[in-house]
């Protein structure tokens, strides 16, 4: 544009992903938008009226949006306006205004609006490969160690194939699937970015799965041991949220909200099932990881302490029996006494 100082406003036509298809300078008010060819901005959209909207300065010098003779109305910043409505167009916070006409999304920026400050980019992801490479090697070593522990001494070389070959393939396959999903929403494939997301989370998952039960056993702290599985689920959810953010960078709130509700739903459901069958919130009846002799920091009690603890356990069970009897009576079964 030759004379940028003449530009009063800028109107952009957006596609469904919010990218700009074309931009139009507004050099004078009033400015009209519609399907008719006599409009300033002509939209080829069957759901737009011939003269859908006009923007003009009113008597007080304020910019007004006037909805024309349209059946579908207009959405201004998410708010529906019917035919004939009039709204002042000044938000004052420096952000662009969103307009929806029929199927067309428009973005309107006014010269009179103050400009918001420049935002800082997120720190640039490192483009070198040494970090993922070293994490990948650490993971491979962990997997190898786990597999070594599972095999008896003198195992055949073929017994190693599943761990050392399959594991990397699973990782690559996982990242490929996420990359394909990303391609659905964006132009990029983003394979390496997903790999960078996956590896550290995977390392955290493996380490916590391997170490947490051991630590809980060493401290003789069953609660920590029971939290180990839920923690794995949380870490998994964290990992998926990071993948989703790569695929849908514009919708962090939706990603988090969706995952959170999925977690809550899944958690409530599985707790309900466990509680029905085991009458407690954890499926495992006791902490089954045994501490290493050198790490047995919990100390020891006398056997009679545990024996004493049976009494409250029995009264707890008696309560449960009472409840079962009440349920039975409610179901109309024969009373047992």
């Amino acid at each position: 544009m030759d004379r940028p100082e003449d530009r009063l406003a800028l109107i952009e036509v957006l596609d469904r992903d919010g990218r700009c298809l074309r931009a139009l300078d507004v050099l004078a008010w009033p400015f009209s938008i519609g399907r008719a060819l006599d409009q300033h901005l002509v939209l080829d959209d069957d759901f737009v009226a011939p003269a859908h909207v006009s923007l003009h300065i009113d008597g007080q010098g304020a910019l007004q949006l006037q909805v024309g003779n349209t059946v579908n109305g207009v959405e201004l910043q998410g708010q529906a306006l019917a035919a004939g409505a009039m709204r002042p167009l000044d938000t004052g916070d420096g952000r662009a205004l969103d307009l929806q006409l029929g199927h067309t999304r428009l973005r309107l920026r006014l010269r009179s609006q103050p400009l918001a400050a420049e935002q800082r980019l997120p720190p640039r992801a490192s483009t070198t490969l040494w970090a993922p490479l070293s994490i990948g090697l650490a993971l491979l070593a962990l997997t190898g160690l786990g597999h070594w522990i599972n095999l008896d001494p003198g195992a055949d070389i073929t017994d190693w194939l599943p761990a050392l070959v399959a594991a990397p393939f699973v990782v690559l396959g996982w990242c490929t699937l996420w990359a394909l999903l990303t391609r659905l929403f964006q132009q990029h494939f983003q394979f390496l970015r997903h790999l960078r997301v996956l590896l550290p989370w995977l390392l955290a998952l493996s380490l916590s799965a391997a170490l947490l039960p051991q630590i809980a056993a060493a401290l003789a702290w069953p609660l920590l041991w029971r939290l180990s599985d839920p923690l794995q689920v949380l870490l998994m959810a964290g990992l998926i949220s990071q993948h989703l953010l790569v695929a849908l960078p514009r919708h962090p709130r939706r990603v988090y909200a969706g995952l959170l509700s999925a977690l809550l739903g899944f958690g409530a459901l599985s707790l309900t099932f466990v509680h029905r069958s085991a009458d407690r919130l954890s499926r495992a009846p006791y902490m089954s990881t045994l501490p290493q002799p050198a790490w047995n920091w919990g100390g020891a009690v006398s056997g009679s302490v545990l024996v004493q603890e049976l009494a409250p356990l029995a009264s707890q069970l008696a309560e449960r029996v009472k409840k079962a009897k009440a349920e039975e009576a409610a179901n109309g079964e024969e009373p047992s006494d």
Binding site: R280, S288, N296, V307, L310, A314
Partner: protein, 559 residues
């Protein structure tokens, strides 16, 4: 498929189950289970055996903790005396209360000499007179009027849900059968009714006067006493006249609902190593004969048919006459039972568990022969122990296990057997696999224990756990440091779990899990189970079991 075929298959399956150490007193009313048998009768017995083991609802309180090697003898039937090879998984053999058993035609013993004296023979038709001695004929003729079939029917229809046998025990018409024959009625009297059918074709309604759940006996009376009064009674052989081992005795009943029959066999004394007095009858008992009398050659009561082993030939069991007499004395003038009998069953089981706990704790533990640890192994006065080890050539974790179980269990209903104790341990040697792998296997083995979820009869198990120090000698060397590690307490991981019985107030299943925690490449894990015990007994048994663990005494004073 006819009913008989179905039953035959079922028992053919059961019959072979090797490790059936069985249930002397826990016959199931087998009609329901019979429907499990979908296999054709001609199926090879081996296959049927493996297939039906689970179908029979075998209770398996013990679970393999070490990953058991799969290459175990394929046919553990070979010699039951040498022990159940894979693991002494108890398989409660079917009761004799109804249907299922080997039909005479397919009895494997047919070619055996046993068939001559022991095979069940249709005495009513008398077609096979060669198999019945003259004495059998005489006894049947004399006892015929006193012999009854006891049927449990649904209140609303005439289909029988369980059948057994019974016999008249006094001139007023009282009759005795097994508790398990009438258990459905005892637990749900509003849905069932009891009827008898006599050998001479008379039928009538029965009422339940009393029962002895521990010995599996029930006392009944016809609603119309006149119907059975005056027929006489089966006399009880006086205790002062003990029978000699090998004496002929005659078991009567209605096997498989086929018809009244006499099964001749030998009296073999008490079953050894049994908590409850039970007689060993060397003859064939079949389902449906439960509750029938076993008589001496003068027609006097020696015992009451109750159960049979299906992994052997002609190994059957009788309830001795003594508890029959006391039940008659106790129940003769009792009011008929018309409401569910849970409270009375609970009372009887409480008495039983108190006696069992008392006797169990009074016995000192045996040595397990481990170099490092004293491990509690019960005396074999009323338990049997089976041992097994990992193959010598294995590269992995080396282990040995010992399973001790009581063979007598108490039948309450088809899904509840109780009143017994099991003790098990496994010793592990990880020197061939190293500390890291050992830690992994050792924890896995400790995890691999079934504790029990919520079900109809019992609540889910709830546990307490801690690290417990046992067997501290307190002896310390110079400078206050323990002379060797054995001077300090032996650290054990202990988990104690209880499950409450929903309908038997105050009774619990107790499970105690123990793992030694002092070595990086070796250890012992133990499991103690007591079924149907009170809280006080559970506490005493837990303490008793934990007290059984310690270091072995050092072989030399200085090392």
């Amino acid at each position: 498929m006819t009913r008989l075929q179905r039953m035959g298959v079922w028992v053919a399956g059961i019959g072979i189950t090797a490790a059936a150490l069985t249930a002397l007193t826990l016959p199931t009313a087998a009609t329901n289970a019979a429907t499990n048998a979908a296999t054709p009768a001609a199926e090879p017995r081996e296959a049927a055996a493996t297939g039906k083991l689970l179908g029979a609802g075998a209770q398996q309180p013990l679970k393999a903790a070490a990953s058991p090697p799969a290459n175990l003898p394929a046919n553990p039937l070979v010699n039951p005396a040498s022990g159940p090879a894979p693991r002494p998984s108890l398989n409660p053999s079917p009761g004799l209360s109804s249907g299922p058993t080997v039909p005479p035609s397919s009895a494997p013993a047919a070619a055996d000499t046993g068939a001559v004296t022991g095979a069940v023979t249709g005495a009513v038709t008398g077609a096979d007179t060669g198999a019945v001695t003259g004495a059998g004929q005489r006894i049947y003729e004399r006892t015929r009027p006193l012999l009854l079939q006891v049927r449990t029917l649904l209140k609303t229809q005439d289909s029988q849900s369980s059948v057994g046998s019974g016999f008249v025990v006094d001139s007023s018409g009282l009759l005795v059968t097994n508790y398990h024959v009438v258990s459905q009625y005892a637990l749900q009297p509003s849905r069932h009714r009891l009827v008898y059918a006599s050998a001479d074709g008379k039928q009538g309604a029965l009422e339940l006067l009393a029962f002895d759940v521990v010995h599996d006996l029930a006392l009944l009376r016809p609603v119309d006493p006149a119907a059975l009064a005056g027929r006489g009674a089966v006399a009880i052989r006086p205790e002062i006249e003990p029978l000699a081992r090998g004496a002929r005795i005659y078991s009567l009943g209605n096997p498989l609902d086929v018809g009244f029959a006499v099964a001749e066999g030998s009296y073999n004394g008490q079953v050894e190593r049994n908590f409850l007095d039970t007689l060993f009858f060397g003859g064939s008992l079949s389902a449906g004969m439960s509750g029938g009398p076993a008589l001496d050659d003068q027609g006097r009561l020696v015992g009451v048919n109750v159960a049979a082993r299906r992994d052997g030939e002609q190994v059957s069991f009788l309830v001795p006459a003594a508890p029959v007499s006391s039940l008659i004395a106790r129940g003769r003038s009792a009011k008929p039972i018309t409401s569910p009998a849970w409270p009375e069953i609970g009372r009887q089981l409480m008495q039983h568990e108190a006696a069992l706990t008392q006797r169990f704790i009074a016995q000192p533990w045996r040595e397990a022969g481990h170099p490092d640890y004293r491990i509690p192994v019960p005396q074999e006065t009323f338990m049997r122990c089976w041992g097994r080890g990992s193959p010598q050539a294995a590269r992995g974790l080396q282990f040995e296990r010992s399973d001790c179980e009581m063979t007598s269990r108490i039948f309450v209903n088809n899904s509840l057997l109780t009143g017994f104790v099991t003790v098990r341990h496994e010793t592990y040697d990880g020197s061939r696999i190293g500390a890291l792998r050992f830690a992994d296997r050792y924890s896995d083995s400790f995890r691999n224990e079934a504790i029990g979820f919520d079900e109809r009869n019992r609540t889910a198990a709830q546990c307490v756990e801690d690290t417990v120090g046992v067997g501290a000698t307190g002896a310390t060397g110079a400078r206050g440091a323990p002379k060797d590690r054995r001077a300090a307490a032996l650290p054990l991981k202990v988990v104690v779990c209880l499950r409450a019985y929903k309908k038997l107030e105050g009774l619990h299943d107790l499970t105690v899990l123990v793992a030694t925690l002092d070595q990086t490449q070796a250890g012992v894990q133990g499991r103690f189970d007591a079924y149907g015990v009170s809280l006080a007994s559970a506490q005493r048994l837990t303490q008793h079991y934990l007290d059984g663990f310690a270091w072995t005494a050092p072989k030399t004073v200085s090392r």
